[in-house]
């Protein structure tokens, strides 16, 4: 469904070239959830944004749904792939109601039956009809993220890219959103890539996981390998140990 080969992203910052991602190659099969884990500055979000076409990138192959993904995307290309952002407070237009926000993709793609689709999308992500005409500031963080997910799925795209979708949320809200994503993944047979700094979240939702450090993929492992610690790279081991909590060295 998604093929990435030798992807690299270079930013020009203050007259210098900064390699944010380099030699990134992986494939995501249809229906799979692929995870990318790394610490800040590892380039994990950059890779996701490059696949979405939000940042310019270079690669020998970048295919989405069997078609090369050009730097300039057509409206039909856009429809195949949607994105959920990290911060639910920043990803919704502050002056638009939930209804306006959900209507927008349907109007852009000139899809009929807008009203019914908006009502269905609201129910689908576990919101209530009374949320339909609220502004984002009248919603909680979890509800906003549900709106963002509804917006991403309203065009029924085959691919969903998730950039730290729960890291701005409380534990209990995170659980609700992760459950929602797992359910929607089933009912929409979505292919998705989940980027997170939280190993437990990625292991919970993903089948295969790429570990990134300093702009490169260190290794790609299965979720069970992550749990059992059957990993090759020292960095992965260090990351797993750190995620299990603080280990006191006996005095």
């Amino acid at each position: 469904m998604i093929t990435v080969k030798d992807l690299s992203v270079t930013f020009h910052v203050g007259g210098r070239d900064v390699r944010a991602a380099e030699a990134i190659s992986f494939e995501v099969a249809a229906g799979e959830t692929f995870g990318i884990v790394g610490e800040s500055g590892s380039g994990k979000s950059t890779v996701l944004r490059a696949i979405a076409g939000l940042v310019p990138s270079r690669s020998s192959i970048l295919e989405v749904d069997g078609r090369p993904a050009a730097q300039r995307r057509s409206r039909a290309d856009r429809r195949k792939l949607q994105f959920v952002f990290q911060d639910p407070y920043a990803s919704l237009h502050p002056r638009q109601t939930v209804d306006d926000i959900l209507r927008e993709p349907l109007e852009i793609h000139r899809v009929g039956g807008i009203n019914d689709k908006v009502i269905a999308a609201i129910a689908d992500v576990g919101l209530l009809p009374m949320h339909r005409f609220r502004y984002p500031h009248q919603l909680s963080g979890g509800q906003r993220q549900r709106v963002a997910i509804a917006r991403a799925l309203i065009l029924k795209p085959p691919i969903l890219l998730l950039d730290e979708p729960t890291s701005a949320l409380d534990v209990s809200v995170q659980a609700e959103i992760l459950n929602l994503l797992a359910r929607l993944r089933q009912s929409y047979s979505l292919t998705s890539i989940l980027v997170s700094h939280d190993l437990a979240v990625v292991a919970h939702l993903c089948d295969r996981i790429a570990i990134m450090q300093l702009g490169r993929i260190v290794e790609v492992i299965g979720a069970d390998d992550l749990r059992s610690g059957a990993v090759a790279a020292g960095y992965t081991r260090k990351l797993i140990a750190a995620s299990r909590g603080f280990a006191r060295i006996p005095a």
């Binding site: 409380d170 209990s172 190993l199 992550l226 909590g245 280990a247 006191r248 060295i249």
Partner: protein, 279 residues
């Protein structure tokens, strides 16, 4: 760990007047702290940060703080004036906050800021202050203290900035440190390095530590004892290692809602809030 209590809080209430009525941020909270590591866990809005700030007299003037007892090393905190607080804070008790970026003065070098704290609270000379600052920077495991001494805050990485914060907060050798989400802005590998530094300092100096956090895994692995807060109320107190066997339904739900590397769950438990918990 000694039995002597550094901090005794009984029946603490914090209220904020608002446009639509009073917000009860902390309700009837009681706990004691010895020379130990106490964790306070809760979700946003649980009142954990407000409680931490109330203990340091750092709440805005609009807040009303009432308690049956709130004493620190035998001293009543309830009738402290702003001047008393200033003498207590820094010298006797101190606070590390989430983001060092906002807590350090951007136009002063690291060394000067720590040195000034030292001269202010310990009355040392400039030269002694410099000596102490350098050894404090060394204590928080900064490799080149001389270099970092002359740096400005924006030249520090997140982990480095948090170490500098800890150095600044501990230079006056307080007996109590309140750390409010000290590592949540940091990467997980750096997070543990910072925790280790805190752990060593607290143990070596026999300090009391209150660790305020939303991160159950971190608190249960780092602290001795944990208070779980919900809606401004302490709903449960337990030994940190027993957190997974907690009694209160909220704590249990919180543990079950956290994705874990150890257990594979098809679905995460969600928290069904019970109004009874607030009674």
């Amino acid at each position: 760990m000694t039995n002597e209590s550094l901090l005794i809080v009984e029946g603490l209430d914090v209220n904020f007047p608002g446009r639509t009525g009073v917000t009860r941020a902390v309700r009837n909270a009681s706990f004691k702290l010895g020379r130990e590591r106490l964790g306070i866990v809760g979700e946003s809005g649980s009142g954990k940060t407000t409680m931490g700030r109330a203990l340091l007299g750092l709440l805005p003037h609009t807040a009303t703080v009432t308690a049956r007892t709130m004493s620190y090393e035998g001293r009543n905190l309830l009738n402290c004036t702003e001047r008393d607080w200033q003498q207590l804070r820094g010298r006797r008790m101190s606070m590390v906050m989430q983001d060092p970026k906002y807590s350090l003065n951007p136009v002063k070098t690291v060394g000067r800021q720590i040195g000034e704290t030292c001269m202010l609270h310990l009355g040392t000379s400039r030269k002694q202050a410099r000596q102490r600052t350098l050894s404090m920077l060394e204590a928080v495991q900064i490799r080149d203290p001389e270099l970092v001494h002359g740096l400005y805050p924006h030249q520090l990485s997140g982990g480095m900035g948090q170490r500098v914060m800890i150095a600044m907060m501990l230079i006056a050798e307080p007996d109590l440190l309140i750390a409010d989400e000290p590592t949540s802005a940091l990467d997980v590998t750096v997070q543990n390095e910072v925790l280790r530094i805190l752990d060593d300092l607290v143990r070596d100096r026999g300090m009391g530590l209150i660790m305020i956090s939303h991160n159950l895994t971190m608190v249960s692995s780092f602290c001795d004892r944990v208070l779980i807060m919900y809606g401004g109320r302490i709903v449960e107190e337990c030994a940190a290692r027993d957190l997974t066997n907690a009694q209160h339904p909220y704590t249990r739900a919180l543990v079950a809602a956290t994705p874990s590397l150890d257990v594979r769950r098809a679905e995460l438990a969600t928290v069904t809030r019970d109004p009874e918990w607030l009674k």
